[in-house]
Subunit: 406 residues, 2 copies
């Protein structure tokens, strides 16, 4: 019998309890022993709960119990989660978490701490919810050098973009619907719509790929607030869909770049058909070529089932299991990761599309704004074009790259 | 330094050597130690090879060397592979294989043998080539009950069906092209086009899902030989594509069914866009919902990279790593697994489409053959319809199910 504790009894935490109970028999069969939740740490009052006896308010109670072999952290954020997780690992408890902010901020440090204490620090659920991505990446692709990752990793914005495409909604209308359905936060939806959530996830995947810590602060991040129905329609005219793409690339000379931004995805790309709240991540290995992992990117039970899978992994003897899930600490850069590649662009301009150094090809105009296509230009060239426009009294309202297979 | 041996130096076996050498540094970093191929067993003469010193003709040489901790089996078939693998496991050597025929035939027995001797028997590369499917299934979905698997698992037939759809080729033309490009065997392409290869793969995935051995002989299997350009066009008129689908399902009452057959895949299904030699497998977990794994289903280096990932896994201490990769022995049934579900059908008939008990809705006719649609009918009802047609001098030339999300 393996005993575990859950820190934070919110959506995912309560899901972990539910999954452990509902699939107890098959989990016991696969884990080689039954798995039981012995404690739940939460500051709130659960004295009316049928599980009231499990709740504790003090981490020490959990750490003092030698029966507890793994701890699930589903508090979220870093303020409490980070010091708690440190203390668990230092006490020789493995930790399984769905907390992307903590992993993106302190991943290298916590992985090293786990190694030092011979325990596991696992976080499959931090990217893609329940969809397996991190484990296949570090375990099944271990014989590959990973040079590229492209993903739709935020379900909320993908739901909104699907509504904007299929039903012609504006950003505001789509956001309101997402809030009504509980997909977006009502008070501040910024983590989703401004791309911060996606940025944390690509920071985690990129760190795993390159082997040292990539900080979210160093990854240029744009959300979807600026997108208009004109952008969506113009994309469609080019047989593309607009998706919020989190990407990571190692170019042939070893330069790393990464970003989060809405991009034009050609209709024949595997990511183009990923709609609603689904996520998909494409990973390119040098031996393997492209693989894509697709599934629901969030949700109580899917995410909890990934945490429980990590728990079963963590309970296995021998920390060597997780040798391949590791990256080194690194300093935060004082600048953003650069992107010097050439792209095909979708530009939305006001005030004229002709006579610039770069040739602009108009796609569609509406209300004094024109979407134009520009081929084979680098981000630096687009910045120069923006300056050129300003000097001529025009304005570059949006510059969106087209996702490339290369 | 971990020493390994390769049995069978064909396409995949030589790929394993190449992957180990090309990515030696990153493999060593991820595995925690360098991995070196010490022996290669092959009956053929490789005395002119730069690696001539590695070749041996006798398995005893390998098994007598205590340095060899894992063996890669890439001989294929069962005649030699099966007794060799048994001997390796009995000698305390872990075995990693890409041999789907052997796993589909003797999987439960070899898994038990490995467990008995405290070693690993791993076969990620047996399904989907290099695409991670088996490891995510038993490891990341360990907290899920898997009730459904639907996959495009044979790249050769998928390439042919893509050509038939895009370029209007006949089956014979598509086969000729696949043979010219080396995707299909010239002498006897039956393993691919008659579905036997796909059948072995779904037998493996189904065994893993239900926990006991499913035999390929018990899985109704049809290939793509009977498909005509009319079928492909009629499917297109219904916004579907024809794909060879390997499927497994556990219905709510616990009844297992499985099959390999060409099916109509609706355009909005995740499997519809899987073209050319690519593979994709959809797995449904009760907690997780649907996940899809997509990638190249074959090829020397992709497949070899999956074998090498298994080798790195097998070299880890503690056989508990693989507790979740297991299924029990079971008797071969004396009948096929039954399928009693209701489907929408695509029927191709000669000699009339009206007046039968089941209402047939004609979709398209050509050269005296008519493709009709029938809704909500079971395979038994279609068999009865076929008898009814015979009695009336008509003929049911093809009956193809439509893939359902349920």
């Amino acid at each position: 019998m393996a005993k575990i504790a859950i820190l934070g009894f919110g959506t995912v935490g309560s899901g972990v309890l539910e999954v452990c109970r509902r699939n107890a028999a098959s989990i016991a069969r696969r884990a080689g022993e039954p798995v039981e939740v012995k404690y739940i740490l939460d500051v709130r009052d659960f004295s009316d709960s049928p599980d009231a006896a499990l709740f504790v308010k003090d981490l020490d109670t959990i750490l003092a119990d030698p029966e507890v072999r793994a701890v699930v952290e589903t508090i979220g954020g870093t303020k409490f989660a980070y010091p708690y997780v440190r203390r668990c690992l230092e006490s020789g408890c493995s930790v399984c978490t769905s907390n992307k902010e903590m992993v993106a901020t302190y991943g290298a440090e916590l992985l090293a701490l786990a190694k030092e204490h011979g325990v596991a620090f696992l976080f499959e659920a931090s990217v893609g919810g329940g969809t397996p991505i991190i484990t296949p990446m570090h375990q099944c692709l271990v014989a590959n050098h990973i040079s590229q990752i492209q993903g739709i990793v935020n379900g909320t914005t993908n739901f909104m973009l699907t509504k904007m495409k299929r039903e012609g909604m504006s950003f505001d209308e789509a956001l309101k619907l997402a809030q009504k359905l509980g997909y977006a936060e009502t008070r501040d939806p910024g983590d989703d719509v401004d791309g911060r959530d996606a940025c944390r996830k690509i920071a985690i995947l990129g760190s795993l790929a390159c082997g040292h810590h990539l900080y979210p602060d160093n990854i240029p991040t744009w959300g979807i607030r600026n997108l208009t129905p004109l952008d969506v329609k113009a994309a469609e005219m080019r047989d593309c869909v607009v998706k919020l793409i989190a990407w990571y690339r190692e170019s042939e000379d070893g330069t790393l770049s990464a970003g989060v931004e809405p991009m034009l995805v050609p209709g024949n790309n595997q990511l183009a058909g990923v709609d609603d709240v689904f996520n998909a991540v494409l990973v390119r290995g040098d031996m393997l070529g492209d693989v894509v992992f697709y599934g629901k990117g969030a949700g109580k039970l899917p995410t909890a089932s990934a945490v429980v899978a990590d728990v079963i992994d963590a309970l296995k003897e021998g920390s060597a299991v997780h040798n391949s899930l590791f990256w080194q600490p690194a300093e935060k850069l004082d600048h953003m990761l650069p992107d010097n590649a050439a792209y095909t662009w979708h530009l939305r301009v006001r005030g004229g599309a002709y006579g610039f150094k770069l040739p602009l090809e108009p796609v569609r105009s509406e209300n004094g704004e024109t979407v134009c296509r520009v081929d084979n230009a680098t981000p630096a060239q687009i910045r120069a074009l923006s300056d050129e426009m300003k000097a001529r009294g025009c304005k570059l309202l949006l510059a969106m790259k087209q996702l490339s297979d290369n």
